[in-house]
Symmetry: C2
């Protein structure tokens, strides 16, 4: 049911330093920056060929991302699969007994609609569905 | 310097169960299975569009992957970027002060040549270079 990976999410301590490091070392290209989740996440999309990396830094220690960073430190955070119709994908996954974190889609970076699946249903991987902006 | 992501690595407890789960839930397609690293890793490539996931299970608790799984449990493990010439890419990264785990390329899955970069140089992400089989 997934045709492509939209992005891979990486949790970072501080966004500017992380971007500078990835640009200098690997030559990745910045596509977009945005503050997300009611001001609690500082996010940037960078491009590596057809796949994007979403670098996310926490602006609020007592948030899911803040707690992830406190516990595990910076590193790989989530995989986001692209879907055409997020409600339909969520319904299919529910029918396959996949546990969803979000009961309905919510706004993601760059005008997308997103929903997270629970890592316990996805081999320990925090998994996101992304419906691109139309 | 990276044109594409070759695969995203996911550490799993047991390969058959993990494959069955991802096939049933997400409809991913199995491409290839192989035992790697001198018999210590049970690996499978599955396809999601143009990107592959490499599911890796440890057959040896006292190996880097075995210790990762004991400490952190199953979940996201590494990102692999594709390069045309792995020696050239390693030389460029050394010149940019990126710390390498492997001083020279070694065999990866499906006839590839690979080398790992140190997470401390890559925002906490275990990062792999992959030169596809020619």
């Amino acid at each position: 049911m997934f045709e492509r990976i939209n992005h891979v999410g990486i949790a970072v301590d501080e966004l500017d330093a992380a971007l500078a490091s990835y640009e200098r070392q690997f030559g990745v290209e910045l596509l977009h920056r945005e503050v997300l989740e009611g001001g609690t996440i500082d996010a940037a999309l960078v491009r590596v060929g057809e796949v994007r990396l979403e670098l996310v830094a926490s602006r609020e220690p007592d948030s899911p991302l803040g707690r992830f960073l406190s516990k595990r430190g910076p590193g790989m955070h989530h995989i986001a699969y692209e879907v055409d119709d997020i409600e339909q994908a969520m319904a299919k996954l529910r029918a396959r007994a996949v546990k969803l974190i979000d009961e309905s889609p919510r706004p993601g970076i760059h005008g997308t609609r997103i929903a997270f699946l629970h890592p316990s249903s996805c081999l320990g991987v925090l998994t996101e569905l992304v419906e691109p902006a139309s």
